[in-house]
């Protein structure tokens, strides 16, 4: 991608612009050093973090995630992973806002089932209403139901993030048709969140017209997470460029070869 396009083709979320359309999680890595190396290779500017009970009694000098990902270098996206009710999700994000000095950009997810990690959209909608009213910029993880996605936009969420497939499944884009409908109807950014397994999945999401892709396990659980992080960076960029370029129409066959039909030797 030429430099000029890159500068002008920014991801805009809640009034801020980002050069990278790849958002990454910070979980499941071997250690903080690998987390940092993978995130550097991914080029991600927005990184998700979870909010959990502090380990009381840990040694005072023990390093924390934030030491490896300084808040002045990354945009944190605190999430509500593990929350099964609107109430818990709202509580968690209010704590996150206090923890991160008034930070407003958050990822809302309310799960419905511990086995599949499928989202509970009734609780998600309830939480989104409270959070938007409370001044949060809510990026919301959701099912790939176009009606639900539109409702979340109408509530005032700043981005909708439908699943490609279930969290941690690596099954890729299972319903591109629904994603296309969601993208076509949305006035806010649509990002695929969850289910990406490998680089081509990320490219497909971007080719469909997604504004970005959020992933964690696809990088962290790869044989070589740092190498996969670089692959994902390229895949997201490639998919975005292909979307902007506009693909050729699909045809069952073409009577128009790429080489000239005239001038053949007799």
């Amino acid at each position: 991608m030429s430099k000029d396009i890159k500068v002008s083709d920014l991801l805009k979320i809640a009034g801020r612009s980002y050069g990278s359309r790849l958002l990454v999680g910070t979980g499941k890595y071997q250690d903080f050093a690998q987390t940092r190396a993978a995130i550097d290779a991914s080029g991600a500017e927005i990184v998700t973090v979870a909010i959990r009970r502090t380990n009381i009694g840990q040694t005072a000098g023990e390093p924390s995630l934030l030491d490896f990902l300084p808040p002045d270098q990354f945009t944190y996206l605190p999430n509500t992973a593990g929350c099964y009710s609107a109430e818990d999700a709202v509580r968690t994000l209010r704590l996150a806002r206090e923890l991160l000095d008034g930070h407003k950009l958050v990822k809302l997810e309310v799960l419905g089932d511990p086995n599949t990690l499928y989202p509970n959209m009734i609780e998600t909608i309830a939480a989104a209403k409270v959070l938007v009213k409370d001044g949060f910029d809510v990026m919301v993880y959701c099912s790939d139901d176009p009606i639900i996605a539109k409702q979340l936009e109408d509530i005032g969420c700043c981005a909708v993030m439908p699943l490609a497939s279930l969290i941690g499944s690596g099954m890729g884009i299972l319903n591109p048709w629904n994603l296309q409908i969601i993208i076509a109807n949305a006035q806010i950014p649509v990002l695929v969140d969850a289910g990406v397994g490998t680089a081509s999945d990320a490219s497909i999401a971007m080719e469909l017209g997604c504004q970005g892709v959020l992933m964690n396990t696809a990088i962290a659980a790869a044989g070589d997470p740092v190498l996969m992080a670089g692959a994902m960076k390229k895949a997201v960029e490639a998919g975005r460029e292909a979307f902007l370029a506009g693909r050729m129409p699909k045809k069952l066959y073409s009577a128009s070869p790429s080489s000239p039909t005239a001038g053949l030797i007799a």
Binding site: G25, G27, T54, L66, L95, A96
Partner: protein, 67 residues
């Protein structure tokens, strides 16, 4: 005084102390954390003023890796 901290009971010799004192007692000074007392967030700026009483339920959280 007994407090519930992150779901576990903990006893302290002090009879009367603030959230700031608690943070020091738990060796958490200087750490980036957020505290909820009985379901209400205690802003960091109010740590010295908010006094704890017997049976208070506290949640002390930080940021960890997650997706």
């Amino acid at each position: 005084m007994q407090l519930m901290i992150n779901g576990k009971p903990r006893s302290f010799d002090l009879a009367r102390f603030s959230v700031k004192d608690l943070v020091r007692e738990l060796n958490l000074e200087g750490k980036r954390l957020a505290i909820e007392c009985n379901g209400e967030i205690v802003p960091r700026s109010q740590f010295p003023e908010v006094m704890l009483v017997e049976g208070d339920k506290l949640e002390i959280v930080g940021a960890v890796g997650g997706g």
